[in-house]
Symmetry: C4
Subunit: 209 residues, 4 copies
């Protein structure tokens, strides 16, 4: 993948627009969340750490290499940059990564953390996740224990990846969700679908009699 000259501008615009949309939906409380897109085989564009996601502009986006180091800037990339580059390195078809922190995502992660996974089944909206053409299947969304040690967190995710089990997104306990797509449109559809499906799971749990 060679990078066209306009690729950075296009991605920065798309990241900022996605961030503002997700912030308006309440998914990024208190400057949380971070978003990225692949620029080429060895670089990605990612949000600067700590910015208010509701007012993102292309100026809040910087270039990183696949080791998570900022390129051509003194601005600091998101603390969780290595979780983004892991996905670009491991999955060549991934070109956009979104991480948010909604109340639904946070509560679901804590409730299901003891099980280590949330099994989602029986929903028509499973078809919104890439590669699914029927509701008559299930998706397992793993939940990894939280840590401030990024290499350790990367390793926790890698353990799952090395099993070759399907992976469309994951939760970090008490923290939020990571999901991705072939392009930003697909990544946004995935985060919208997972937010909806986790909300349904919480509602069902609260409504059992």
């Amino acid at each position: 993948m060679t990078r066209p000259p306009t690729r950075l501008a296009t991605c920065a615009h798309a990241i900022a627009a996605a961030g503002r949309k997700l912030a308006a939906q309440g998914l990024t409380p208190a400057t949380s969340g971070n978003f990225s897109m692949r620029l080429d085989d060895t670089h990605a564009a990612i949000t600067i750490s700590g910015r208010d996601k509701g007012t993102l502009t292309p100026d809040d986006i910087i270039v990183i290499d696949m080791e998570g180091r900022a390129v051509g800037t003194t601005a600091r990339p998101s603390a969780e940059t290595l979780l983004h580059t892991q996905l670009y390195r491991r999955f060549t078809e991934v070109n956009a990564v979104l991480h948010t922190h909604s109340r639904t995502q946070t509560v679901a992660s804590r409730l299901f953390a003891p099980a280590g996974v949330i099994r989602i089944e029986g929903y028509e909206l499973i078809k919104a996740i890439a590669g699914h053409t029927t509701h008559a299947t299930h998706i397992d969304l793993p939940i990894f224990a939280n840590t401030q040690d990024m290499p350790e967190l990367v390793e926790r995710v890698d353990v799952w990846i090395r099993t070759d089990k399907p992976l469309y997104g994951y939760l970090i306990d008490g923290h939020g969700i990571y999901t991705w797509g072939r392009d930003m449109t697909e990544a946004e559809r995935h985060i919208e679908a997972f937010e909806f499906l986790l909300g349904c799971e919480l509602d069902l749990r609260r409504s059992q009699t």
Copy 2:
């Protein structure tokens, strides 16, 4: 019913406006939902498959015949087109059909699927459903099992219709609601009323002590 020359433009405008409104209320997550209006005895206008309902324009609406085939376009109509045409064929007074996917609709469908029906009674808002002039009655909203086989799903709905029991809308398990009206205004009032009534039923269930 002869089709006036402006009927398609009028319907496409009304469908797009209704879709944007329902999307803004969160009823169509991740491009779900589809909407239609009858054009004449043998044609309807319906949303193209997979479009983001929040940004619908008349260009996202195509013509179909009553067998659900696209007319005069290579665009693909919504996968569930046959559920729309079934209603136009079976109920001559129906001129608008709305299908949405809200969290409330989805959760209610799953909770009450074992019973096969949700009985709604005791609400003043029952009067918002066509033909009702008092709260002192009930409405039975059936829940059909989901399937990707559209003719099979059509047949499940038809079994209910053939019993001649009243039908103002129905849920598909894990999937969403279908409702309709003599015109788009009535169909929109029905979907707003059912969304409200199902939300109340879920809240009551959660609040029993």
Copy 3:
């Protein structure tokens, strides 16, 4: 109270503005709700039956006398007009009446209907209800059984009024709330406060362990 020449225009503007605001907050699903203001000792202004409250304009407001009859128009006033005129006749200090239908109001009315009253106590926001200067008190919000027979419903409310117990608003079972104020600002503050307080009561009930 003599009616200044501009009183109708002022009231129609205030009613339409309040209606649009309450509709935007989701308190008037499917054209429900109705709103009025006193014009003079023998007349009030009220919303026309069945209008979408989200797009109210002064043209949707008509004049009624205190027997609930439309004056100078063939438009039909809200079906529940007599509940408004009862308040203007019984309470000379009341100049604005609001009736809404939120999910919270409807669910609270059904849950507490067997008790006939919701006792609200322990909230700072009680001070938002006219005449209250401390949280260390309570407000009893009665719940009357619903009926389509307006004179009967008026009588149910009147039974409470004749006891001389304080009355700041009331619920109708499965239906919604009525509240009022010396002016529209106070009536709007009351409906905002009751919506909040009923929401807290439902949340508390759901959170007991």
Copy 4:
């Protein structure tokens, strides 16, 4: 801290903007809530009592001294002014104080009042509270009994402060939250984080099976 000539105008603008934002999020029902900023060592700017927080302008902000008396105006400061000045007097690093009344804050205060404190732990978003760099810690949010006697309420808060236990915010039972920051940006981040964290705690409590 000497007060620059433009300090009052800057603060009044910042307070009004923060108030409108918090009101739009539903945190200030029925004119509740009050907001302030430190002007210099002996003065602060604070919202006038009873104003609608959704339409705040700099004209709704007045100057008070550290005894809570209005300076250069006949307008009445918020009834709870002494709770603001207490924070400016006790904590020299505090330059902005926010008090809101959300349904989540009110319900949480009532549920946890018997314990006197809500312990918040296990959330990544703890890092949004100043001085926290890891989720692997906890924050204790005290809940004080409500009273209309402001000096008494000030004393209840002061008892906690004198213990030298950390204090990032507190709840008043049935009433709402107080939190603050070195500047308005930090105070807003704190209120957004506490609203989120309290919401998660309520959801977890409701979802236990």
